[in-house]
């Protein structure tokens, strides 16, 4: 595991002692998991391993997205951060506090520095919007006047001023989640945990909630850990991503890296729909992993950064004489960087695939051979 040094210590560290040192200090790690495992014991005494061998660190001020299928252990992982669950092994640190070894009473104080939002909002139906936002302040024991002022700030931040005296039953899902966010921020936490906060919302509302989270991250410098089963959520807000499968982190890194060069099979699958990486449904059914005589080789080309707008297919034809046939394609932006993906069919011919890939390689493009299609499928598609 990579050892990152806290910023405070970096100041006096020998590596950064020259006054004009241009090297920025490594980002301060705010949350760190070391060899964490979580095993639940069910009522019948059966062990269920939810997480194992988790090493993870989250830099202060960054947004980490954790993605995985249902049951992968996402909720378990996020709940370990604020001690709602206790690890079976390993240590978890949030700032200076080792939450994995604190008792319940001490944990309560740490939790006041960690906000949390939920898939089903978990708002008190008996309290108005203002009353819900004030709850963590009451728990903390803040005075009425100070509390009221703070609630006012949060209503403004989340755009809920007009709803302040309404009850949750009178709000839309998006408004409820805004209340959830305002409540989570009430005590001025340094970390915000989000457990599928947009999973119960429609795409439009999801976008606005994610934009709010991003703004909070930027403006308040809040560190955010959010879990989701949708790559689009990761892409909209996260700086880094960890992919969880069957209780293990199978891949983690910068969002752009992972999106454009997914390593693990599960990551590719999760990305498939999101990134236009999937073949059109009609072709997917016919694709074969073995070469087909006279058939078409299907290649997926990923364009990263500046290449995204290059007329690469035209150049391929001009420079190698290979006339690639575009089957599907998308151009997108990930973490602020352009990224495109093009699925092409290559004509049959001696070593066409090899030459095309060599050409792409030479131009710094990553390509994947997806398989082979009978010629007629591609013909039919071209006509249509």
């Amino acid at each position: 595991m990579r050892v990152q040094v806290q910023r405070v210590r970096c100041v006096s560290s020998v590596h950064h002692d020259s006054p004009g040192d241009a090297v920025p200090p490594p980002p301060e790690v705010l949350i760190r998991f070391e060899q964490v495992a979580k095993t639940y014991v069910t009522r019948d005494g059966v062990d269920v391993s939810a997480l194992s061998g988790i090493d993870l660190s989250v830099a202060a001020g960054s947004v980490l997205g954790v993605i995985g299928r249902s049951g992968a252990g996402k909720s378990s992982l996020i709940r370990l951060i604020n001690g709602l669950e206790r690890p079976s092994a390993g240590t978890i640190k949030v700032g200076d506090a080792e939450v994995s070894s604190l008792d319940e009473r001490a944990l309560r104080h740490v939790r006041r520095r960690i906000g949390m939002i939920f898939q089903h909002f978990n708002l008190l139906s008996s309290r108005t919007v203002s009353g819900n936002i004030a709850l963590p302040l009451e728990i903390e024991g803040r005075g009425r006047a100070a509390s009221r002022a703070r609630v006012g700030e949060l209503l403004a931040l989340t755009g809920l001023e007009d709803q302040r005296d309404r009850y949750p039953a009178e709000l839309s899902g998006g408004q409820k989640q805004r209340v959830g966010i305002a409540r989570a921020l009430a005590t001025g936490p340094s970390v915000l945990l989000s457990d599928e906060a947009t999973s119960a919302l429609d795409p439009e509302t999801t976008r606005s909630i994610l934009a709010l989270l991003r703004r909070i991250n930027r403006e308040l410098g809040l560190t955010i850990v959010l879990i989701t089963h949708e790559m689009s959520v990761i892409r909209a807000v996260a700086d880094r991503v960890a992919v969880l499968e069957a209780g293990r982190i199978v891949e983690q890194g910068d969002v752009f890296e992972v999106f454009t060069r997914p390593q693990a099979e599960i990551t590719r699958t999760l990305l498939a729909g999101e990134m236009g990486l999937a073949l059109p449904a009609g072709l997917r059914a016919e694709i074969d992993t073995q070469p087909i005589p006279g058939g078409t080789a299907v290649l997926r080309i990923a364009f990263r950064g500046a290449h995204a707008s290059d007329p690469i297919i035209a150049r391929l034809a001009r420079e190698t004489g290979i006339e690639a046939n575009i089957l599907s394609g998308t151009v997108d932006e990930i973490a602020g960087q352009p990224f495109g993906s093009l699925t092409v069919g290559l004509p049959a011919g001696p070593d066409v695939v090899g030459r095309a890939r060599a050409f792409l390689d030479a131009h710094g493009l990553v390509s994947d051979l997806l398989g082979y299609l009978p010629a007629r499928s591609v013909e039919a598609r071209r006509v249509a």
Partner: protein, 221 residues
Amino acid sequence: MSPEMIRLLLQATGDTLAMVAVAACLGTLFGLPLGIFLATSRRGELLAAPWLNGILGLVVNATRSTPFIILVVAIIPFTRLIAGTSIGLWAATVPLTVAATPFIARLVEAAIREVDSGLVEAARAFGAGPLTIIRKVLIPEALPGILLGLTLAVVSLLGYSAMVGAVGGGGLGDLGIRYGYQRFRPEMMLAVVVVLIVLVQAVQTIGERFAARLNRRVRRA
């Protein structure tokens, strides 16, 4: 009906209301915390104490499964200890309270367990301890349900109060039996029944109205 009978009817109505009111108040005083504890002391809950929960549950069930008239007789020594006598209006409130407490406790327990566990989880995530969660989350959220439960309890107490005539408790039931049945005055029996119907209806309406006003779970125009 003669003025004398009307006087008796009024007197009996007052007695019934007094008995039921005292029993309902004391029953709530004891039943509310007991119900909250029953709901929160199960395994894995806020105040987890499965053993105590089991024992209290047993006591509650035992009391609730004893027919009221047997309970009245069975606890006469206890009644005498508390009220100084075992007959009369105030003595009758003792068995009524003893019957009301576990009944109310179970109704409160059910209302508390209806509260979405996500709310408890949220409060825990914000650093609340068990007592804070009970005070700020469970009770307010369960309040409409608790009020409906109390309404049900008061209605049942009106019924029970008719039986305490057996120990000289007085009240409407006693009047109905003594005049309506034993002295064969059907108009008295009818009057008693009508008054009871009106009382039950009033209690039910008031209780439901309060519960509805407190219930913010539904959207209202």
